[in-house]
């Protein structure tokens, strides 16, 4: 458990740095895939809710440090994702493409719902996604597509 936790946090640091340094500097990308979220989803699915929520909390906190988002927002969202996906441990078998893509889509949906709920609780400081914004749909698309790629080394 400790090993999984440590390993997932180190990977989360690396992925978050890739997001801010590499993906965010591609002017053609309309949205940035949330690779850390995908990682948390996999870690949770493979190791259960305890490892999932713990790695989600710490990975989210790391993202909060390098973003102008209020501290605690990503930590909260990733903890919820980690806990929920941990509950599905052993429920179904992972294939290489379809299930990871579905998990990526579901995780993005959960993130959208969580940020919406938190924006209700904490007011204007917390932004939520708009259904009419292209950013939401692009992020959903990118998360779905990047999920099988992140899945390979994790699985």
């Amino acid at each position: 458990m400790r090993k999984v936790f440590l390993w997932s946090v180190i990977t989360a640091v690396f992925l978050s740095l890739v997001e801010i340094t590499v993906f965010s500097n591609f002017p053609l990308l309309p949205a940035i895939p949330d690779l850390v979220l995908i990682l948390v989803v996999y870690v949770s699915f493979m190791n259960g809710s305890v490892a999932g929520s713990s790695s989600g909390f710490l990975s989210g906190l790391l993202l909060d440090f390098i973003s102008v988002a209020p501290i605690g927002l990503n930590a909260c969202v990733q903890t919820i994702s980690g806990f929920v996906f941990g509950k599905f441990t052993g429920s179904f078998n992972l294939d290489r493409v379809v299930i990871p893509m579905m998990m990526g889509a579901f995780a993005t949906g959960l993130k959208i719902a969580s940020t919406f709920f938190l924006s209700l609780l904490f007011g204007e400081g917390v932004r939520s996604y708009s259904l009419f914004s292209s950013v939401l749909w692009y992020e959903l698309l990118f998360n779905c597509n990047s999920a099988p790629i992140v899945a390979v080394p994790v699985a």
């Binding site: 965010s24 929520s53 440090f65 973003s67 988002a69 209020p70 501290i71 903890t79």
Partner: protein
């Protein structure tokens, strides 16, 4: 009477979930309320070092890829033309690159000198990982003299224009909140008619800023294309720095003020170099 006890089972996952949600909720509340300990700055300081390292590695690889690409182009030229012409082109290209770099540096030096306030030149090394927020990460931090809330400008086209302000400072990196972010508010004036209003970002580079609270009587005096500048109130931003130009005027009959769409002067998609302004020098001069 039988002794009936409610069985209590400790659930570690539920306990951890509650704990993490409580802590993150607490942090979220503190980060919007200004708690004494700035968790963001501490964490950012730690991570920014690693980010700078990765940036250097990424720059190295992109440089290598560019070099390989250039080599391919040169090889094509070699086949098409004669060896001497290729050598000549190489020399010319290298000269042109040095000349361009020299011009760029001269320009930056000129810009830096042209600013009335003490300024710290910086380079953008990263952008916010979240799609909902839009921070820009620069390679200058507290050890270079950067402090929270310092305004940031850049030069594109003819003169300086507003980029945003510093919201988080690490030891060797900082985060800029650009004017187009939802959380950015800038007190501004119309350059010609001097009507005052408040500019607020709408969250996207491609979405125009919105300027609110313009007196309705200004309707006949303003037109699309007018420049909007900072008002300089409270020394948050220097006075008369261009922010953008009016792209649309909206005024509803039942409202007492106008709303203007403002197209930022800075093209954020190709923004590389910025200048962080130290307003404390200007403030002390005036006082």
């Amino acid at each position: 009477m039988s002794d009936r006890r409610v069985p209590f089972k400790f659930r570690l996952d539920i306990f951890l979930l509650s704990l993490y949600l409580f802590v993150s909720g607490l942090l979220l509340a503190f980060s919007s309320g200004g708690f004494i300990v700035n968790f963001g700055n501490i964490g950012f300081s730690v991570l920014s070092g690693a980010q700078r390292g990765l940036y250097s590695v990424a720059s190295f690889f992109s440089g290598t890829i560019n070099a390989v690409h250039e080599l391919t182009v040169m090889r094509k030229s070699y086949i098409e033309l004669q060896e001497r012409i290729v050598d000549y082109e190489l020399l010319q290209r290298s000269n042109a690159e040095i000349w361009l770099e020299n011009e760029h540096l001269k320009k930056l030096l000129g810009f830096s000198r042209s600013l009335d306030v003490v300024n710290i030149p910086a380079e953008i090394t990263g952008r916010d990982p979240s799609n909902l927020y839009s921070g820009l990460i620069i390679n200058r931090g507290s050890r270079h003299g950067i402090r929270k809330n310092m305004p940031v400008v850049s030069f594109q086209g003819s003169g300086a224009a507003l980029v945003g302000k510093i919201v988080q400072v690490g030891r060797s990196s900082s985060i800029i909140l650009p004017v187009y972010d939802y959380q950015a508010f800038v007190s501004a004036r119309l350059q010609l008619t001097r009507y005052e209003g408040l500019i607020n970002g709408q969250g996207g580079v491609d979405v125009p800023l919105v300027m609110k609270y313009i007196k309705k009587r200004a309707r006949d005096e303003i037109s699309v294309g007018d420049i909007v500048v900072t008002s300089g109130e409270s020394y948050q931003y220097p006075k008369n720095v261009p922010v953008g130009m009016i792209s649309r005027i909206r005024g509803l009959d039942y409202e007492t003020s106008l709303e203007l769409d403002i197209e930022p002067i800075i093209d954020f998609s190709r923004l590389e170099d910025v200048f962080v302004l130290d307003m404390s020098s200007l403030k002390s001069e005036i006082e």
